[in-house]
Symmetry: C2
Subunit: 208 residues, 2 copies
């Protein structure tokens, strides 16, 4: 029997853990979950470091195979398991989805730093954006508006996992009280209502 | 007729541009190349920003389809074109290759900052590593030693694109004069001799 075990952060605040959590739910896969206390540096302790080569959450263990890095995990889930596709099948759309995922994980650092996901999941207060963060936010809005057709519910023909990642990034700003173009705010709000996303949003969190 | 045009940084110092350059060569694909002056912020100017959604090099334009983010590009090349595989075909090896790529692009920041690729491609001097960079380097060595079988030439059964990325990351330290475990140093040196890699290393570079 196949077993799937997902390791996530104990605050349920990692956007990357959320992406894998949503992917597993969208695929209709049953999985167990346990938490790693990043504040206590538990990810570097022998137990977890022996499991995760990169000492990071999320880590998915599938029948003894431990895999970290969320985009690698969601690609693996999509290739290994039946069910709704997590990535577009059309080659250029699939490429674009991968571009969005890679970009959101390696750029826009000032937004990620000044609008940490505690703003999203704990309602933490957010001070005004620095000029560097404003510039990064503007770049995010330009790219997202270019990708999203007017009124579109998804980036591509159908929902894909990059929609979750993009909505999370936009919601850092929406929930931080920043002025986000209304089309993007509406897209992020719709994405946020997806039941698999709401399951993550509604996790019972320990105090910060 | 298919056309491929690759936009890279004018210093030929981007490890991500190198990764795509090597991928195209390994696939035996002909392509044109032009350079973007990052020092002059040319990537944010109207021309390039109109092409690259994420305003970053590398960007590959394939028959009018412009794609940025190196790992998305190499996945696209591998799926679209015949020739030697850039990613392993075995599912868990392919997952691991993606994990390595995603990790090297989103972690180990102190090593990337204190051992910029000018150390690798321009022989720039490197001051001693900070404690944070030493910790990141140790994590890199642990992961690489866990992945690489003793004396193995590649991460997996055959060469893959993640070998290029890992060798570049290790060579930041080797060429920075840091003490790198000999097994890893030998691996990186062998990878560096790959003709496609040497073509990138030997690009004629403008002064820094
Ligand atoms: Ca725990
Ligand atoms: Ca792992
Ligand atoms: Ca130029
Ligand atoms: Ca692009």
């Amino acid at each position: 029997m196949t077993t799937l075990h997902l390791h996530v952060d104990s605050q349920f605040a990692s956007p990357y853990a959320m992406s894998v959590f949503v992917a597993l739910h969208e695929k209709g896969l049953a999985f167990d979950m346990s938490t790693v206390d990043l504040g206590a540096r538990e990810q570097h302790a022998a137990g977890f470091a022996g499991l995760s080569l990169t000492q990071r959450v999320p880590t998915l263990v599938h029948d003894g195979f431990a895999l970290s890095e969320s985009s690698a995990i969601t690609e693996y889930i999509d290739e290994e398991f039946e069910g709704p596709r997590l990535y577009p099948t059309q080659p250029r759309s699939r490429a674009r989805a991968r571009q969005v995922q890679a970009w959101l994980r390696s750029d826009l650092m000032p937004v990620r730093q000044e609008r940490p996901t505690e703003v999203v999941f704990y309602g933490a207060k957010a001070p005004p954006l620095s000029p560097a963060a404003k510039e990064a936010a503007a770049k995010l809005y330009t790219a997202a508006q270019s990708l999203l057709q007017d009124g579109a519910e998804h980036l591509f023909d159908q929902w894909c996992i990059a929609d979750v990642d993009l909505a999370l990034m936009l919601n850092r700003l929406v929930l931080g009280g920043d002025s986000v173009p209304s089309r993007l705010e509406a897209y992020a709000a719709r994405q946020w209502q997806q039941p698999s996303v709401q399951r993550w949003v509604n996790q019972r969190r320990p105090p910060l």
